[in-house]
Structure formats: structure tokens, C-alpha cells
């Protein structure tokens, strides 16, 4: 049971990593913010019709979508990497990098796991592959957009509609 709880917690933490994807141009170490004005804004100065007053839940995150013609990559489609910002989780800073060929996610890599405590390692081992699998599972659905329970500005940062938007950069 404890293992299950840990796995759940870490999955949540892992999914939080998907927030705030930024464009990473191969060959550059800088991560310029994409034109997705959604990142960072988090509803500042915005009215709260979606109910940002409610605590958004970290547990409901990743929902990637993808362009429909994923399987048929245009010849010479650029391979790009999209690097998430470093997220401070309960288990220490974590960061993921998604590689795309054209519009298709081809891999999800963990860049940073600086907390090397035993518990963190245990969590990472179980949770991170799961995060990758989930991401790819949705990727395989070849979706253009995601419908789900209304998210707030903050919730958007964790949604895979957000990752989808930013992966388009």
C-alpha cells in the first residue's frame, strides 16, 4: 500500500514536470519561452470565471495531444527537444525533456533528479517510466486537442493541452 501511495505521489510530481514547456533549440543551451503567453501568466490580473480560487489539483495533469498525421513524418521533419522548467517537487527538483520529430513525441527523458535520497530513488524508479508511458500512450492516440474538466490558468500549466500547445513551437 505504501508503495502504491508513493507511486501515486510521485506520478503526480512527475506530471507536474510537464508544466511550462519551453522551446529548446538544438545546439543552444538557452530555453527561450515560447510564444505561448499562457506560460507564466497564471491568471495574473485575470478574472476568475474558471474558479481559480479553488485549489487546483496537481494530480490531474498530463494530457498531450498530437497532430493527426503523426505516423507519417514529413521527410526531413526537424527533430526538436522541448525542455520543461525545473519543477520543485516534494522529492526535489525535477526536469524532463521531450524530443519531437515533426509533431510526434519520440521520447521523454528525465534531465534532472538532484535529490538522491533513497526514497526519491525509489520513487523515481517506479514513477518516471510510468510518466513516460502515459505520455506516449496519449501520444499514440494522435489527438489534436484535449477536452476535460475546466482547468484554471494554473491548471493549464500542468495540462497536456499546454504541452501540446508548446510542443508546437
Amino acid at each position: 500500500m505504501r508503495r502504491a501511495i508513493l507511486a501515486l505521489s510521485s506520478t503526480i510530481a512527475g506530471l507536474v514536470l510537464l508544466l511550462s514547456f519551453k522551446t529548446h533549440i538544438p545546439g543552444s543551451t538557452d530555453t527561450g519561452t515560447t510564444a505561448a503567453s499562457g506560460s507564466g501568466g497564471a491568471g495574473a490580473g485575470s478574472a476568475d470565471m474558471a474558479g481559480a480560487g479553488h485549489a487546483a489539483r496537481a494530480g490531474h495533469a498530463g494530457r498531450p495531444g498530437n497532430a493527426a498525421h503523426k505516423a507519417r513524418r514529413p521527410p526531413g521533419a526537424a527533430t526538436r527537444t522541448v525542455t520543461g522548467t525545473v519543477a520543485d517537487t516534494t522529492y526535489g527538483p525535477m526536469q524532463v525533456q521531450v524530443t519531437l520529430a515533426g509533431q510526434s513525441i519520440t521520447s521523454v527523458k528525465v534531465l534532472q533528479r538532484t535529490d538522491t535520497g533513497a526514497e526519491s530513488d525509489q520513487i523515481d524508479a517506479s514513477a518516471i517510466p510510468r510518466l513516460v508511458n502515459e505520455t506516449l500512450a496519449v501520444q499514440s492516440a494522435h489527438i489534436n486537442a484535449v477536452s476535460g474538466a475546466s482547468y484554471t490558468s494554473a491548471g493549464y500549466q500542468r495540462s497536456l493541452q499546454s504541452a501540446l500547445d508548446k510542443a508546437s513551437a
Binding site: 527561450g32 506560460s39 495574473a44 489539483r57 489527438i143 477536452s147 474538466a149
Partner: protein, 254 residues
Amino acid sequence: MIAQPIAVADRLRHAEPVMGTVVSVDIPAAAASALPGVLRWLHWVDATFSPYRADSDVSRFGRGELPLAECAPELAEVLGECAVIRDITGGYFTTTPGGVFDPSGLVKGWSIERACRLLAAAGVTSYCVNGGGDLQCAGEPAPGQPWRIGIASPLQPGRVATVVTGRDFAVATSGNAERGAHIMNPHTGQLAADLASITITGPRLTTADAYATAAFAMGDVAMGWAERVPGYEAFAVRPDGRTWRTSGFPGDSR
């Protein structure tokens, strides 16, 4: 490195924080000139219809300070839509969910639908506008391909419960996954808990969004109700993971 514009092949994607959420607009890159008008519209709706802004028309109307005739004419339009949907849903949709005037349950879907109309009026024939998980789309994202919309699983973050495909349709989902229990059954005063989420598809997002809110409050009985409502279909995920759908729902299980 300078930020790159959001464009995939010939598509432009823009994410705009507004109305307490983020609206994602997916249009052909060649239609970029239609984007500013859409964004202006969404921010105008925010300023006019937000119940969280004391000076919005909705707030002033709700407090009885501003007669309807002096409000933005769009408020009367919204109230008309609300009245129709209240009747069709047997009162499960209400503009006074907490006893205070708040038409937000309809405004978001309506504003996205109107944003789509702006795009259509500008000659854009392929678009998807997603307002915090409720979306309307038209045309095709690529020649010969329908839009494929994932319905987020409310129980398994990161997974889709089903995929809806089509060319001109709206998809709205209501549930507790993002914001916790917050939809009340107006007939009982209890928080709705039968379902983990319910998705409504149909031609218009104004209607689909309000139906989704009402159907979530109805719970499982929404299946029979949705079967009888022409033009709209429903797909629900129950808290135990089981799902149900109306006979015409345009999706596949997975």
C-alpha cells in the same frame, strides 16, 4: 535564444490566459491576422461577464445596480440562452447556482463559440478553439483528416478515456478532477457525485458546455436525458471507472 512563434508546419497555435483559464487557438498560420480580434473579444467578455470583477456588467446587473437595457446587449443574449437551457435541462442548469446571479456556466462556452464565429467571418475555415477544456472546431487540421479530440480521463491523469473525431463540432466536459467538487445539484443542494466526468458533443459549444454542467449535476440519469436531446450526445466516466455513452456518441473506447 529568441522564442519561436507557435507554428507547426502551416498551423499557428496560441495560448491566451483569459477568463481565469487559458484559451488555446489553433488556426492556419495564414490566418494569423484573425487572431487579434479573437483575443480582444475574449478579454472583452472577461471584463463584461466576470462575476469576480465588481465593476463588470454581470456583477452590477446581479446587484441590481445596472438595468439590463444599460448592460452590454450581449448580456441579454446570454440570458436568453440561459433561459432556454434551463428549460431543456429541467432546471439543472441555473444562472443562480449559489443563490447569486452568475451565468458563468454558459458564458465560457458561448464566448468560445462566438470567437469561432469571428474566425469564420474572417474566412478561417479550419480552427479549434479550446477554452480550458471546452472546445469547438471546424474544418480539418490537415487535408483529409478530421479533428481528433482526446477526452481526458478524470481518473487516470495523462490518459484519454476516449477520442472523438469530427469536422464541425463542439466538445465540453464537466467534472471534479480539476477543481474538486464544485457542481451542485440545484434541486437537492447537494454536490454532484454520481459521475467523475461527463462529456457532451454537439454542434454548438454554448449548448454543449451548459449541458455538460447540467448533466454532471443530473448524474447517471443524464444518459436518458441526453438520449432525448436532439443533436447532442454524452459520454460519462463514473468514479468506479465504468463508462456509459449515448447511442450516437462519436467516439471509441480505449
